[in-house]
């Protein structure tokens, strides 16, 4: 079933066009990977899905992006409510310089999800457990989040993202700053999470895309070149450019 449906999305940074007529269907409770060489527009597209491009003054988005028939690219849309439903994990782990507990409790606090202290404790515990971090931090929840290791920080960010039970989580190269062991932990986590949420992940690593995703889209120079089941993209792509990229002839 389709969760997000993008049609003819064009993005401009000032006078420079970054995305050209991108149309894509993202299925519910699946992992969709977006791959492509640096600067191909995959992160730009990802940031359209929770309107993070609003933060950049000169950025302009055209076209239609619908999530459950709600138009995302509309001035009337309340980005605060959108982002409550669409979480995001960034390339560089960015926990707030607060305690681990406060980091996870941040979303539920601002969105008024927890009514009491006990409820909040529960949300924090569940989120950390889902992010496979609970066992490592349960005795030091009041330590500063930035004191954790890189992989732990990234899992903390994931816990933060899932604390408000979003329907979609966007991940922007979540493992590029991590070592292989931490990467494996995160990938495992993604696999678990897809039972409940729709995940869109941008990644540089083709093997990662192959391991975690069900669908893959290949971007090149701001265009979506090919999109389909991961197996097909990696084994038998329709497009010559995709083939070249997959086999490492460029990029």
């Amino acid at each position: 079933m389709s969760k997000i449906k993008a049609e003819n999305v064009n993005v401009y940074y000032g006078s420079k066009q970054a995305l050209f007529d991108v149309s894509i269907d993202i299925a519910e409770k699946e992992v969709t990977a977006l791959i492509g060489p640096s600067g191909c527009g995959k992160s730009t597209f990802l940031r359209c899905l929770n309107r993070m491009n609003d933060v950049i003054d000169i950025c302009r988005v055209e076209g239609s992006i619908k999530m459950d028939n709600l138009e995302l690219n509309s001035r009337k849309l309340d980005v605060v409510r959108l982002r409550e439903n669409v979480g995001m994990v960034f390339q560089k782990p960015n926990p707030f310089p607060k305690t681990i507990y406060e980091n996870v409790a941040y979303g539920p606090t601002i969105h008024g999800i927890a009514q009491s202290k006990e409820e909040m404790d529960q949300i924090v515990e569940i989120s950390l457990k889902k992010a496979a971090l609970w066992n490592e931090v349960k005795d030091r929840l009041d330590e500063i989040g930035t004191g954790l290791s890189g992989g732990q920080q990234q899992r903390l960010c994931i816990a933060r993202a899932i604390s408000v039970s979003p329907e979609v989580i966007l991940m922007d190269e979540p493992c590029s700053a991590l070592d292989p062991i931490a990467t494996a932990q995160i990938e495992e986590l993604i696999d678990d999470l897809k039972k409940e949420v729709t995940i869109v992940i941008v990644t540089h690593s083709m093997s990662q895309a192959a391991r975690v995703s069900q669908k893959t889209g290949f971007f090149h120079l701001g265009k979506l070149i090919e999109f389909g089941p991961t197996d097909k993209i990696f084994k038998n792509p329709d497009n010559q450019q995709t083939q070249d990229y997959i086999t490492g002839r460029f990029g």
């Binding site: 929770n50 993070m52 933060v55 003054d57 980005v79 605060v80 409510r81 959108l82 982002r83 409550e84 979480g87 995001m88 960034f90 560089k92 960015n94 926990p95 707030f96 310089p97 607060k98 941040y106 979303g107 601002i110 969105h111 960010c157 933060r160 993202a161 408000v164 966007l170």
Partner: protein, 458 residues
Amino acid sequence: MNLILVTFIILLAFTSYYFGRKKALVIQSSQRLTALPKFYGYYLAAWCAAPALIIFALWSVFEPSIVKTFILQDYTDQNLTKNELQLIYTKVKALAAGTYTGNITNFLDESANKYIQLKGIANSAKVAIILAILIFSLSFAYRSVQKNDRMREPVEIFLKWVLFVASLGAVLVTIGIVFSLLFEAIRFFQAVKIFDFIFGTHWYPAKTFVRDGQPDPELMKDAFGAVPLFAGTFFIAFIAMCVAIPIGLLSGIYLSEYAGRGVRKYAKPIIEILAGIPTVVYGFFAALTVGPFVKEIGNAMGLEVSAESALAAGAVMGVMIIPFISSLSDDVMTAVPQNLRDGSYAMGATKSETVKKVIFPAALPGIVGSILLAVSRAVGETMIVVMASGLAANLTMNPLESTSTITAQIVVILIGDQQFGDPKTQSAFALGISLFIVTLFLNVIALSVVKKYREKYE
């Protein structure tokens, strides 16, 4: 005499530069040079000027005190106090210069003659020694030029020393501050107990004015209690911060998080103009416009307001300080990494929630640092208080009354002619050292906090 000597040394240095360069060109015809010809010139010039000038400076510093000891030797058997000796020496000098108008005793006349004689000997000795040094160092340097020694390295080492000495300038200024303050302050604390100064609650130095003889110690005890000044200083600074912190901080937040590029580009420098306006101008403004305005409003509300109220001075000072806080906090918050903002926005936080819950706490150390710097600035501010808040040191917490500060009292005491050795004058230096210590304390903390903060995000 001194001027001629220095000019002579400098001229000689220039001459030796040209001579050295010429010599290098001569050497060049027979052997390979160790450096560019101009380094030969520099080498000679440095050897010519540096030793002579150093000796000259040392001599000028020590000569007066040596002459003084010689003159005052004749008075050792008279059991005079230090001050009396100083007075005699001043008289002798005046007599020698022909500007003395008092009674001339034989003894004094003798001393004056001796003084003139000593000065003459010292002068000729100085000229002789400096000429000898010039000849010695120039001939030494010339010999190495002739031998075609390495020229560039010594010149560069010399330059490096010059640079190093220059960098000691700042340290020297600090030492100068500490010593000039301490010197007078210690003498003050010999006359007034340090306890009375720090804990006394009456500041009324005019009371100690006595035309002849020593002031009454009982009077002194009660005249130099600095508590009203300390309280006044922090009270006015507090009023200033009450104005400056909310306005400055909110402006800083708006500039860093909300304002578009255009607004930021123009609003920030315009607000910074407030910090560039000389304080005396603020003082005039406070005294002429704000003071009467506050008084009028107060009277309309049935309050008794002094025309020179702490409120007027503090409020205007606060306006002056706004840009310190707004610009520094803007910088500090802009330095908070974008990915923290992204993280918060991606959670669905609004801008103000992001500011209040993420950016502000992250920037807090830097902001505290900038506020401390602003407090130090307010504590050290002088002219606004001198002109807009009274000069009488009232111990009061009523912002509508006039009160005085450390800085204002220093000005009041030292404006016009001062008499060194008078406890009233010395008290200004005691106040100065307390001010220096307080601001130094604030600055050291603020600067280290800001420095740590910068390192965290760089």
